[in-house]
Symmetry: C2
């Protein structure tokens, strides 16, 4: 039998995992904040945020602040659950029996 649980491909990506990890503790964060904390480029971040949004793992709200566009991201219940499942799964890889 197979020893290793599937790792949700949506979360098993350095950038997307960073984003979700951030949103787990920060709950609501804006584009620029996430960009700085993750060290990603804006282009890549834009793409990956939309993937997480398409999957229903986060919600994206677009507003304006001081005349500038402001993109705010928030983790959903689904995203939180998926993160928990991922964490449980990867522990099976990094704590070998």
């Amino acid at each position: 039998m197979i020893e290793f649980e599937e790792l949700d491909p949506l979360l098993h990506s350095q950038l997307r995992l960073s984003i979700i990890s951030l949103l787990v503790s920060q709950s609501e964060s804006d584009f620029v904040f996430i960009k700085e904390k993750t060290g990603s480029t804006a282009g890549n971040l834009s793409v990956q945020l939309n993937k997480l949004s398409d999957a229903g793992y986060i919600t994206i709200r677009k507003t304006f602040k001081n005349n500038y566009p402001l993109t705010t991201c928030k983790i959903t219940q689904k995203g939180l659950k998926a993160f928990e499942v991922y964490v449980t799964a990867i522990k099976g890889y990094i704590n070998p029996k």
Copy 2:
């Protein structure tokens, strides 16, 4: 400042991480055993084993057993170290502050 450490791309792959995780506890394992435990296809396994070998994370020995080819894999010191570094890094993602 950036919050997340780089995840070694060689180890941040479901199959390659499974392989290394296996070899950490099993030390020496043959192709078929790894194939079964990881649930991978032979083709994919062949490719990923060579990548790990090229990186010096494992050694691959080719012999014969009962007339059949036998491919045996073993983790190196370098591979072990890389795994430890990876484990430390990913913990920064899955245990959010």
